[in-house]
């Protein structure tokens, strides 16, 4: 619970300021410090398209598109992604307006202009975290191995292979050498701070799926 709170806090800062990062804290102490980007120097970007190209018009993948992206990227069905109160579909029922959808027939919300609500970043993270947890559980506990296969954070080459899978499935491209190196460094730091392979898998998935490159197009 404590780890999840810190991750969510960090992700809020990451998402709102527009760059996704793995951090490289070297030998510093706790997981909290490792994950807190505000005190880092020498950040290594996960996506080589480092700048938010404001000369272009990046659009947020609203509601249905976000759902499609998550389903395709993580090979999940609609109902596997996220449910609020175990019954409401997060994307189509509970948070459809927050994610940029409309409610034309009953609430007269005929359009949803390209602006975010205050809760949009948190809702996105909530949904992505749920989806990543599900994928990791299915892969590592039920043995589906669609993206992750069983391994260890100390096995660098296995980590590299998993990172490649992640990038190909989520961002539809190959990871660069820098990105693979950053992911391996992250795994190594996580291990030093008591994190497990499952933790690494969930956090890596979450980090990529809350990046600008994934959420915008």
């Amino acid at each position: 619970m404590h780890l999840k709170s810190i991750i969510l806090l960090v992700a809020v800062f990451i998402l709102s300021c527009g760059k996704g990062k793995f951090t490289n804290q070297g030998d510093s102490g706790s997981i909290e410090e490792t994950l807190n980007p505000s005190e880092n120097e020498g950040e290594i970007t996960t996506t080589e398209s480092a700048s938010l190209a404001l000369g272009s018009k990046l659009k947020f993948k609203k509601q249905k598109l976000l759902e499609q992206e998550i389903m395709t990227s993580l090979s999940l069905s609609q109902n596997q992604i996220c449910q609020e109160l175990e019954s409401l579909n997060c994307i189509n029922e509970a948070h459809h307006l927050t994610l940029g959808g409309v409610d034309a027939y009953d609430k007269n919300i005929w359009e949803n202009k390209n602006s975010f609500l205050e809760t949009t970043p948190i809702v996105v993270e909530r949904i992505v975290w749920s989806a990543c947890e599900k994928r990791v559980a299915l892969d590592l506990e039920s043995g589906e191995s669609k993206i992750f296969s069983k391994g260890s954070v100390s096995d660098s080459s296995h980590v590299g292979l998993m990172v490649s899978n992640l990038y190909q499935n989520i961002l539809a491209r190959d990871a660069s050498e820098n990105e693979i190196a950053a992911a391996k460094e992250f795994a190594s730091n996580l291990e030093k701070n008591g994190g497990t392979y499952d933790d690494w898998a969930r956090l890596s998935c979450f980090s990529l799926m809350t990046s600008v490159e994934f959420l915008f197009y």
Binding site: S16, K57, K59, A104, S115, P121, N169, R173
Partner: protein, 532 residues
Amino acid sequence: MKNLLVIWILTWFSLLEARPSTIVTFCEMYPESPQCVSGEFSCVSCHTNPPVNNEFGKCVSAGSDLWETDFEGAVRESLLKIENLDCDNDGISNIEEYLAGTDPGVANSTEPTTENIDCEDRDKLSNWNVCGYDPVYTYKRVSLDFCGKKANYQDLKVFKSLSLSEQKKSLSDFQESCLNSGFWKGRDGVVWQMAHTKVQPLRTLKSGHNSGEVPLGDYDDDYQLFVYYNVNDRDVRGLLTADHYVSMIEGGGATTYEAVDEMPMRDDASGLVLELGNFMGKRQQFVPKERRAGMLTTLWNATFRTMFTSIPRTNAAHAMRAYLGLDIAKSEGLIEPEGDFELVDHDNKGILSDDCSFCHRTLDAASYPFTKYNGLSFDVPGKDIDVGNIFDPNGQRPDNTLVNLIPENLVEWYLTNSKMLVPGIYKPRRVELLSEINKETEPELSGVPEAGYVLGKPVANLVEWGQVAANSDYFVKNIVLDYWIHLVGSKPASESEKNEYESLWKGLMGEDNYSVSKMLKKLVETEAYGAP
């Protein structure tokens, strides 16, 4: 625990006081700033650690009082106000720093923060051709925008392996297939959803599929007409000129639309639509063919927008806003009618005062052609029609409802020659009858002409209104703008975007023969859409 609480509070506060939308607003106002070109303008341009302001952020914050009520307005007001100030006291004004690419919140920032904004250098760091149009980037966008699906790793790998000319063809074919997909043209697809602001649905008043409690019209007819003219190379002017309706056939994963002369009453019709439909020969649209003007003359338009008003100003204003992009409420489209137009207060609403007439000269002139199309009045003078139970699906229809009053073989004659007014019909005597019904409040109503004006030009009736409007520049500009905003993400901002937009709307009314499909093929080839 206390630290965690503090962090949570600051985080929540930061969500309120430090917004990513500020970056977008800044770059819309100063697109030529090197920091916008490179993407360096970010949260840290105004903040040290959000929401804590740096010197520039303090200036911005002090520049407006609108933060609580209109955040974006406050950003715009403040940035303009502080242009000539020097917030970091380095001897260079803010506006000079924006344009030079230096940091207006940092005193020792006198050199551009972006070391090199040269295209080729940026290109090396990127997966995209950031110097111009990138077909691979465009392919990803087209896949999402037109097909609603992710371009996966394998798809992109295959596409990247093609030559440039092969990529262009592949992209065009791919887009074509997507334009026929359910995601694009099906019920609640992209085009259908673009019609929401035109149709303005309200389920409570709907008959048919997914009906409501007080069925007054079936707006599915409107959506179907809208989609029909926006797909498959059809002439989009039909939105305002069509003399037919459109039925939709769903099944086998595909959606097709078919033009029909008359709209048959649906099996699940209810309420007013059922009552009228049974009376009018099992139809659910009642305007005669020669009096139809596309989206302007549907039953939904009559019952939802004209409603009980004698002079349907709401209907005219909505048509101008929805189809011409001219919002009279914002004083747009106030074009003086040609010739000797005299504004008359036919319905006694006080429109002749100076404060009112400068809008009503346009609005009333545009409204007159709508006055022959009846809204919600339900009258047979001399007869007392009980309509209450027709909205109760379990209720008994009273003996004195329409179906029981007039023999079926006399309906057409009666509608034409009698004083009967029912919803959704075209009735030349409408204003005369309403002036009789409303003689206490609107005694001068019978003087309202059918002829009026649109965009300053005289028109004899609503059919001509639709033709003049559909053939105007405003109409095509509005069509293209709707798609531009949806696909590109915002209105045309830079000079090059404005040029591309202009080329598209002129093409739509020129070599593209009003085909939205053709226009969309060109839109996808613009730099605004396809340059990362």
